[in-house]
Subunit: 305 residues, 2 copies
Amino acid sequence: MDIRQLQTLVAVADTGSFSGAAAVVNLTPSAVGQQIQALEAELGVTLFDRRKRPRQLNAKGEELLRAARQVVQTMTEARMAISGGRTAGMLNFGAIRTVSMHLVPQAFAEMRDAYPDLSFDLTVGMSERLMSDVAAGRLDAALVAENVGVPASLSWSPVLTEPLVLIAPRAEAWRSDLSLLTDLPFIRYVTEVPLSRQIETELAALSVSPREIVATNTMPSVIGFVQADLGVAIVPKIALLNAGTGTLHTRPFCEGAITRRVGLVQRQVSSRSEVLARLRQAFFKVAQMHGLGAEEMPVVDSTGG
Amino acid sequence: MDIRQLQTLVAVADTGSFSGAAAVVNLTPSAVGQQIQALEAELGVTLFDRRKRPRQLNAKGEELLRAARQVVQTMTEARMAISGGRTAGMLNFGAIRTVSMHLVPQAFAEMRDAYPDLSFDLTVGMSERLMSDVAAGRLDAALVAENVGVPASLSWSPVLTEPLVLIAPRAEAWRSDLSLLTDLPFIRYVTEVPLSRQIETELAALSVSPREIVATNTMPSVIGFVQADLGVAIVPKIALLNAGTGTLHTRPFCEGAITRRVGLVQRQVSSRSEVLARLRQAFFKVAQMHGLGAEEMPVVDSTGG
DNA sequence: ATGTCAAATGAAGATATTCTTCAGAAAAAT
DNA sequence: ATTTTTCTGAAGAATATCTTCATTTGACAT
């Protein structure tokens, strides 16, 4: 089965006639008919209702058509990716809020030299939403948290490992972890993102049930409450890049054992894969500058050009 | 470009050698080499690093390999779907909670006659999660709410339209909609599912801000609170099938204008599509028996067998 | 180094496929 | 009824793909 046959099937479905399709794929109508016949012979079924005159796909034909569209789509993407790839134009990128403020802009800046004709559109959202936007093609890629279900058509690869840190007012620096969490009020971060669930889970695992005094749903306000001497909180280290840490006491939570991984999701087959491989490197570099590096630096394979 | 060429590329990647691949695809090593060369010629690039001896894919080769795997996968599915389809064995199905109790079991019962060798595994969850499970292949299909992002590889088609109804204690039946919502306490349904967001939105659109007295996160408990005379609530009509409505006053919310559509998600290309088309019909039938029918009954195209 | 060996490439010929051309049939449009 | 458009079929040319067999290549062990 040749992909060109699938392409002509798509053309037939789109134009509504064999001869129309012939014009689209630059063949004679006869050749189009033969290709369709070849498909029918190979599958052992008829694809068209040949009694009606505007030839109409039957159920099996529709079935094959859906597959054909998908195959043609991925092969077109793959061809583009292989022959140079789209290294210019708008790259639609998504990121979760914590990394959207410093990490992403700095990584984008790193890219300016290598790809001067590339521009960026950044969408901030929650991991699940960003993931489904990538799957649907509305985004080219996104930086999202780990542990969200990844469809088979997407790939997730780690970019940075954020430690979770315990923050408290300066004056309380002398206390132990346990004392901070049980003797001082706890500022809870309540949203629907995986991060807030993860913090809850980790606390429960340590059998710590802190006295809650304030619950808020934005990271800056969590930090603000701690700075205002109202209690302690657990936040990803990167969130502290925004606020001056002068008035805060910061320490790794659970000796840095509790971390949260953030990675790049993209479609398995994407015409942007070259740019994205480069972007991933840039993220690594910037993450390491902030002491958030993941396990190992990715290698770019530049052979076969 | 022939799909067999992509298949041999996959075989080469899997076995690690041309001759190994030759055995897999039932060809001579020479033919395998020629197929790879044909691919390279068509794309105008080299795919393998030919200096090293266990031939290794280069970057472009890996790119094509990902596309090839995807193409082979979808064509295999499509072939199965076309040649009879998998109408026996375990069908992994997902559903949101409200429909999992009556609608789904009844629809499954409808299927027993047509497909006696088919068995069902039902997973209950939230729409987003179910959707990503379908995309990842862990489920064959699922019944989920509308308005969640649908990846391009999936299709969503409506199955039932649930009206949202206002429920109140019997004694308050004389009140107007507005009076019920503003003069009586409101039992809020707070979860992360789209339904609870939708209810909030609709209330806000009507400029109604009810006095909240209780917030709870399960549908049976919402109904329980109303039955206990604590206030009014807004729930999908289908949720009332569980509880006896004897003690409740029920009326359409906004004259039935506010509805919530539930539909079937499945992969665009699936070897189960025949069974799923039939199942969708069964859902329609059962939904109409409960007065929840969507716009129109789907037509099954049974030609071309 | 050098020989050995499995594996990949290359050339040649047989086979199969896929295209175009042209003629005929069949449905739609005038 | 006639024209027009659209599809099918046969024949032959052009192309592609397979197998066979000889040759070359690179890895590995001696």
